[in-house]
Amino acid sequence: MNVRAHMSMLFHLDKCIGCHTCSVACKNLWTDRKGAEYMWWNNVETRPGSGYPTQWENQEHFQGGWEFKDGKLRLRLHSRAAGLLKLFFNPALPSLEDYYEPFTYRYQDLFNAPAGDDQPTAIPISMITGEPMEIKSGPNWDDDLGGSNIYARNDPNLEDVPAEVRAQLDELERVVFNYLPRICNHCLNPACVAACPSGAIYKRQEDGIVLVNENRCRAWRMCVAACPYKKVYYNWSTGKSEKCILCFPRLETGQAPACAHSCVGRIRYMGVLLYDADRLPEAAMVPDEQLVDAQRDAILDPFDPEVIAAAKANGLGDDWIRAAQLSPVYQFVKVWKLALPLHPEYRTLAMMFYIPPLSPVVSVIEDGLFRLDLSDANHDFELFHRLSAARLPVQYLANLFTAGNQEIIRQTLVKMLAVRLYMRRKTVDGEVDEKLIKLLAEAGTTPQEAEAIYQLTTQPTLEERFVLPPYHREMAVEAWKDPLAHKGEAGLGYLQVPRRGE
């Protein structure tokens, strides 16, 4: 057993209101620079929709992630030899149009326009060329299904959804959408790392954050193509690749990443997961429908004495093990089995997890009136027993989170519904009947667990949402520096020491 720690984020999609505060916080902090204008290390997509870059899930086109064929795991992008041949021309790379051409407005025109009959306007200009441009798309162009349905209709996850269900999504009265915030998944089996010809990308051992060493990056951009989530970006100004760094400077000083910290709906949780690095190959090489379970199996129980001993043997301190035990991510992913990785079929073993969203019951139109597609009795329990009536098709969610395994999505949704019914009955009626207890058991949970899920979902404190282990940078510095000399610099040492006489 090779126990390692991983900082993981969890997104409770049932709570996301799609306000883009996370994206703005991240933008302001990290990508408000020349060459990074088009980058959104954190973005929020409306689903069904095509996302950003447009149709990033279309791996026929973008060739991201891994392929499991004949018992072997291969990069979908290219083999080593083919990679060498395509070194200078990689057709799978997304173009700027696949993202969008970043724009701003010539605000000075509002003040400098000569007197005239018309209101002055600020015309859009490209942030790359500075020339006036016609805006054709943006990072959330199909936000809230706005404008046109071409983006939603071309969501790759809808491909194997039955035609009548797809048609239903198009009807105004039955339309449904949810939000999908995305950052780098800091995968356990990252395709970007595997594809980099310069060896510039690495996964930090201490917390699993995947980083680009910009000093070694040689702008081959294989990572951009190989990442199935299209979360590595190429900075056209510096000629280096950039990606989400999980705000490691914030983590190292005990703060949650900016996107999580600023989240208005408090949908994000942050915590340590312990995983068995030896078990990763088998976790990545199972048939599609077993991928979620295999990945859950690779995540270890931080209360197991064997795991603790192995973790300590690997140099993990007591405080990290304690953080892993208190981790909300561990609770949701492993104990309650409510959280799922995004697109496990890419086989990168993504380590950011999502709790799928619930959706209302489909409505039908009768005599010009809307009516929910419910039988008259037992409204509450209707959806519980008939998930096919949920507006968000189960197959669609399965394509997003379980590589098509509908059973796992069903179990998850049923459990969430059970918790909801249980807590509603408890708070509204003040009592819980036998029927409900039976229903909880049917959903594979207990009143105690339901209470705990409810607590962590709706009323967590900041400390419960973000369980950040201490990084001990003050101790790490001893490895290469005299701590007393370091103290004299108060942590603000020189990056480049000025040389006397220059």
């Binding site: 095509s50 870059p53 447009t54 149709q55 279309n58 086109h61 057709p91 997304p94 173009s95 149009e97 696949d98 969008y100 054709k136 798309s137 162009w141 071409i150 983006y151 071309n154």
Partner: protein, 271 residues
């Protein structure tokens, strides 16, 4: 009397220093000049230096010995004429210090002072050389015994395979003719006095047998019919260049339509 006594040591010191300079000069001559020059032994690669101090102006001589390349580059008439006279083989800059130049001139003024009256060409081991073995040595198929780098690294010559040798040094096909016959070439092979080569061969000299073999090979190479310099007409270059560019453009035009349109553009155009 007093004057004589006082002056005597001065005279003695002067005499000794002259003699010393002369013998130093002899050593330098043996090491760096003898490959191409004799004193009273006749022309070799370069002129016989017997009485050179009388033939030439002293200042010119000093300057030429110190930096023959610069003198030649300055368009000096004597140097130009000498170059033409001696098969266009320029004298290399031997990187001598001013003191060494003085010592050499002291020696050249009176070569007999050291004892030896007449310096013949350097011992030329013109024995039975094997041209085939010489070629093997040249091309590196057989290693030089003292670890010297094979000639092919820097030189080319007739009889080598298609790609020839290096281009750092001159082509050695006609070397025997240029260096005034076998004796001259042999003496050059004995010491390889060129500064570029000295850097390597000073400590890794050719063995007498190797010298003989190489010489035999050069003699053989010199006897080969002179290779016809392949002159390609300029129009050919133009044709190949323009044709190649057109072919590339044609290839690009073929692949250009296959460039991918962005997906969002495809979606928009589909409506």
């Amino acid at each position: 009397m007093v004057v004589v006594i006082l002056a005597a040591p001065v005279y003695l010191v002067k005499a000794t220093s002259l003699q010393q300079a002369s013998s130093e000069g002899q050593a330098i001559f043996a090491q760096k000049c003898q490959a191409c020059h004799t004193i009273g032994g006749g022309r070799l690669v370069g002129p016989d230096l017997q009485g050179v101090t009388q033939r030439r102006d002293l200042a010119w001589l000093k300057g030429f010995i110190a930096a023959p390349d610069q003198v030649l580059a300055s368009g000096d008439p004597i140097a130009t004429q000498l170059l033409a006279e001696y098969n266009n083989v320029p004298m290399p800059n031997l990187a001598l210090s001013p003191a060494e130049v003085d010592a050499l001139i002291a020696y050249l003024e009176n070569p007999t002072a050291g004892g030896a009256a007449n310096v013949p060409p350097a011992a030329a081991p013109v024995g039975a050389g094997d041209p085939a073995r010489g070629q093997a040595l040249f091309s590196g198929q057989v290693r030089l015994q003292n670890g010297g780098v094979s000639c092919i690294a820097c030189h080319s010559a007739a009889g080598l395979p298609a790609l020839g040798g290096g281009a750092l040094g001159p082509d050695l096909t006609q070397v025997v003719q240029r260096y005034g016959g076998e004796a001259g070439t042999a003496s050059v092979l004995a010491s390889l006095p060129f500064p570029t080569m000295q850097g390597f061969f000073a400590t890794r000299p050719l063995t007498p047998q190797e010298q003989a073999d190489l010489l035999a090979y050069f003699v053989w190479a010199g006897a080969q019919p002179a290779p016809q310099p392949t002159t390609t007409p300029v129009t050919w270059f133009w044709a190949v260049g323009v044709g190649g560019a057109l072919a590339l453009f044609a290839g690009m035009a073929l692949f250009w339509p296959r460039q991918r349109r962005s997906i969002s553009e495809q979606l928009r155009s589909r409506g």
